[in-house]
Symmetry: C3
Amino acid sequence: MTEAQGPAWDMLVSHVNNLRTALSKDGTEVEVVFFGPGLNMLLKKNSEYEERLKQLADSGVTLSACQNAMRFMKVTTDDLFPFASQVDSGVAEIVRKQKTGWAYIH
Amino acid sequence: MTEAQGPAWDMLVSHVNNLRTALSKDGTEVEVVFFGPGLNMLLKKNSEYEERLKQLADSGVTLSACQNAMRFMKVTTDDLFPFASQVDSGVAEIVRKQKTGWAYIH
Amino acid sequence: MTEAQGPAWDMLVSHVNNLRTALSKDGTEVEVVFFGPGLNMLLKKNSEYEERLKQLADSGVTLSACQNAMRFMKVTTDDLFPFASQVDSGVAEIVRKQKTGWAYIH
C-alpha cells in the first residue's frame, strides 16, 4: 500500500479478501506492506478502515508498517493500530520476501 | 490493468507490444489481468480500444477478466469482448503465475 | 519509474536510498528502469532531481532509460543525464531481470 487515501484503500481490502478466498486451501500467507504515504492507512486517527483491517489481521494477514515511513511522518508505535506489525524498511521487506519465493502485487 | 480509464490504457497496449517485440524470440507468453476498476477496459461498451485489444488477443496475448470484478460490477460474459478470457480472481491469478516462474509488471 | 512528474519522483529517491541502507550488507544491486512517461525524469532539462539521481548513480545504482520511450518522446542520448544507462525495452528489462532472480517493486 503506497496511497495516502482514496479508493485504493477499498481496493486493498477487497483484493486481500479475494486472494484469501481463492488461495486459502493452499495455505497461502498474505502480508500487506504500508510504506511511503500508504502508512497513513495504519494510523489510529484514520479509524474508518479500522474494523476491516482488524478483520484481516485477525484472519492471519500481516499488516506491516515501514519504520522509515514512521520516522519520516513522525509517527510512533502508539499512533498505529495495535494489530499492526513493523518492518525496518518497506521496500526491503518486499525484496526479501520475493527472494524467499513470495509473489508480489502492487 | 487496474485503471478504469485514461492514459494507462494507451500505455498498456504500447507496453505489451514492446514486450513482445523484445522477447518474441524467447517464446515468452504474455497475459494481461484486468481486475478491480481495470475490468472496464474489456467491456464491449468501451469500443475505442477494441481493435487494439483484439490485435493483442489474435497475436496470442491472453486477456483475462477477473470474475470477482465481474460480480462486483454486475457484468456478464456477454458484456465482455468475445476475445476475453476469465479467471476466478485477478489477484490470485497473478500470484499463481509468479509461483510458476512468470514475471510480473504493474 | 512510470510517472511523468510529481511526488513519485521524491518517493523514488527515498525508496532507493532506504533499500540500499537496509540491504547494502547483502551486496544487493539496484536498477531503476525509466519507461513510458517516467523517462521524463532522466532528461537533462528536468534538472531539479539531477543531483539526487547522480548520487544514486555514483553509489552504484543503475538508472536505465527505455529506448522505446526515447523514440516515442523523440529523445536522444544527448538529452539524457550522462550517468543514465539505456535498455532496448523497459518492460522487457524488468521481465528479464525477474527471470534471473531479481525482485521487482513498482
